[in-house]
């Protein structure tokens, strides 16, 4: 079920370089939270630190506290692998597994974790997940075909199906539509609106109209100069951010005066 995420005093590093500084924010369950800001401001890095994907990179580390419904995600005896099972992620570019069929891609989270499941249950899960990603009707007759045969937009929805098949509580989306055409983008946005009933969704986007369309809350990241860490400048309801932001920098960015 959708869970709430509380982040306090989060600092994110690449080696000695501090990429993101002092983020404190709470993300509400059953809603879409959008993160916007100019390139290189650390939004994606921040997103990746929520499910502990950041530390996969060599030299990368995180300081501060991230908790999900009170459970400390960076606690000393927490396995990052378990965190990622609870917090799914969809990437900028669709990345289905090229050696697997459509069916196997959706089942990948179950199979790769060697969880035993009856064939009929797995079939049902695959169908449910593909329906949840609005892809079922398009691929139902070719579940055993390679995933690489799908279009870009279909591949991205397949990746969403793959992510929700492991039934996470939170879904992180890193510019999920930036590599897609407008129609596929619309499909993804509709999907987000449906999915927020069941998941907490955090989306990074460069597209401000998209943020305005799909999200309830919006956070604006910025950095004062190149080489400086990115900071969360403002976090407010989407409506307020786009109509009457508290910060001058937010207004400048929204109105296209920089970035």
């Amino acid at each position: 079920m959708a869970k709430r995420i509380d982040i306090s005093d989060l600092n994110i590093y690449y080696g000695d370089f501090r990429a993101v500084a002092d983020v404190t924010v709470s993300i509400e369950p059953r809603s879409v939270t959008a993160l916007i800001g100019p390139s290189g401001c650390g939004k994606s890095t921040f997103l990746r630190s929520i499910n502990r994907m950041h530390e996969v990179l060599p030299g990368a580390r995180v300081e501060g506290k991230v908790s999900m419904d009170g459970q400390d995600l960076y606690g000393p005896d927490v396995d990052p692998v378990d965190v990622r099972r609870q917090i799914g992620m969809v990437f900028q570019r669709p990345n289905p597994f090229p050696t697997m069929s459509i069916y196997d891609n959706v089942a990948a989270g179950i199979r790769l974790n060697a969880r035993k499941m009856k064939k009929s249950d797995l079939d049902a899960l695959v169908e449910r997940s593909l329906q949840g990603a609005n892809l079922w009707r398009e691929v139902r007759d070719r579940l055993n075909r390679p995933a690489s045969g799908l279009s870009g937009g279909q591949q991205q929805r397949l990746c969403i199906a793959r992510a929700i098949a492991v039934e996470p509580d939170v879904l992180l989306m890193d510019e999920p539509a930036s590599a897609l055409d407008p129609i596929s983008t619309l499909a993804i946005e509709d999907l987000m609106t449906e999915m927020k009933e069941r998941f907490t969704i955090v989306i990074v986007t460069h597209n401000m109209q998209q943020a305005a369309r799909v999200s309830e809350q919006t956070g604006f990241f910025n950095l004062s100069a190149a080489g400086q860490p990115g900071r969360l400048i403002e976090f407010n309801s989407t409506e307020k951010i786009f109509s009457n932001p508290d910060e001058k920098a937010t207004e400048d960015y929204i109105s296209g005066r920089f970035g």
Binding site: N51, V56, F97, P98, T99, N113, C159, A163
Partner: protein, 358 residues
């Protein structure tokens, strides 16, 4: 250098396709070389010049003539350019001479004994005519198979370490030393295996497995290199996709990275095997030779195809011609094996490559 810049700034730029006065037509080069050939052949062949020398002299004469012609009708820079072109093309042609002559010699001398008896009899009791390399063929297959069995797991794990886990100093050291190891002389690898096994079995030891160990020293670094390249080609996005599903790293490597890279790995194994299957020196000092069939790599001498070829040629006995024929057939078989492995490697990489998502 200063001269170059000087000439560069001099007026006529020559790269443009535009036709200008003083530009040789396209067919000029062919005409020059044709004339040279007619001249050299006309004078040389009656005088008993070898065919290879005719070709050689034609190349030299044609190149010089073209250079002079270009100097006269075009300009110095174009002439130099043409000269270099001739030299570079000539260098490639020259490199083909050994390849073609080698293949021709081996095939024409080896084809005679490429018969059934060669494949199904050993040298037991053979004096003079007949006999075969049954024992050596199987010896080579067994020892090479053992080599692959040792090298592939170690090499693959090492490559996985270097690509997926390695960091810092140890990774750098291993990468560097794997490179250095590819340069170990094969005979030294043989001496190493001999010394290693002599500790346990006493001096003078000859064992098939010792040969396999020696060949592994040669094959492993080759395979590590190619496996490393192939694993690096697996897009990072796939690893991240798996991590994001809560898949532990080792399962990601085993279930996602390796299957994605399987074609490249197959190619790498095949090429690494091709690299060692013709090695003679290490087997000469570790496995020795025998006339009888011994298929047990843990019990004494074995015959292998390269060593067999070596001894048949260098110690043919009396009368020598039969053994020498067998030596050439063994050499032909070796080349055929190596070429076949190379072709297989290319086929693997062409047909089994995964269709990476676009």
């Amino acid at each position: 250098m200063s001269q170059t810049t000087g000439t560069l700034l001099s007026p006529p730029p020559v790269t443009g396709g535009s036709r200008r006065k003083g530009r040789l037509p396209r067919w000029a080069a062919w005409a020059v070389f044709g004339t040279a050939l007619v001249l050299v052949a006309g004078i040389g062949l009656p005088a008993g010049l070898a065919l290879a020398l005719v070709v050689l002299f034609t190349g030299v004469l044609g190149t010089l003539a073209l250079y002079v012609l270009s100097r006269v009708t075009e300009n110095r820079r174009t002439a130099t350019d043409r000269l270099v072109t001739c030299v570079v093309v000539g260098a490639f042609a020259l490199a083909m001479v050994p390849l073609l002559s080698l293949v021709y010699e081996v095939v024409s001398r080896g084809i005679g004994r490429l018969d059934g008896e060669f494949f199904n009899s050993s040298l037991v009791g053979v004096i003079g005519e007949g006999g075969g390399a049954y024992h050596a063929i199987f010896g080579t297959l067994i020892i090479t198979g053992l080599t692959a069995l040792i090298s592939v797991p170690i090499g693959l794990l090492t490559a996985i370490y270097l690509v997926e886990y390695g960091s810092g100093r140890l990774k750098k050291v291993i990468t560097f030393l794997v490179d250095v190891m590819t340069g170990i002389p094969s005979i030294v690898a043989g001496l190493f295996a001999y010394a290693l096994f002599a500790i346990f079995f006493g001096p003078g030891v000859r064992l098939g497995i010792a040969g396999a160990v020696a060949l592994s020293v040669l094959m492993t670094p080759v395979f590590v290199r190619s496996a490393e390249e192939v694993l690096k080609l697996v897009p990072n996005e796939l690893r991240e996709a798996a991590y994001a599903l809560g898949v532990p790293k080792w399962r990601t490597v085993v279930k996602i990275v390796l299957p994605t890279a399987v074609a490249g790995l197959g190619t790498g194994v095949t090429l690494a095997v091709a690299r060692v299957i013709g090695e003679t020196a290490p087997l000469l000092v570790t496995v020795g030779i025998t006339n009888a069939t011994n298929l047990n790599p843990f019990d004494g001498r074995m015959a292998t195809l390269p060593v067999y070829a070596f001894y048949q040629l260098t110690q043919p006995g009396v009368p020598p011609e039969f053994a020498i024929d067998r030596a050439w057939t063994a050499a032909l078989l070796l080349i055929a094996l190596v070429m076949a492995l190379n072709v297989v490697a290319r086929l693997i990489s062409r047909f089994f490559a995964p269709t990476t998502g676009r």
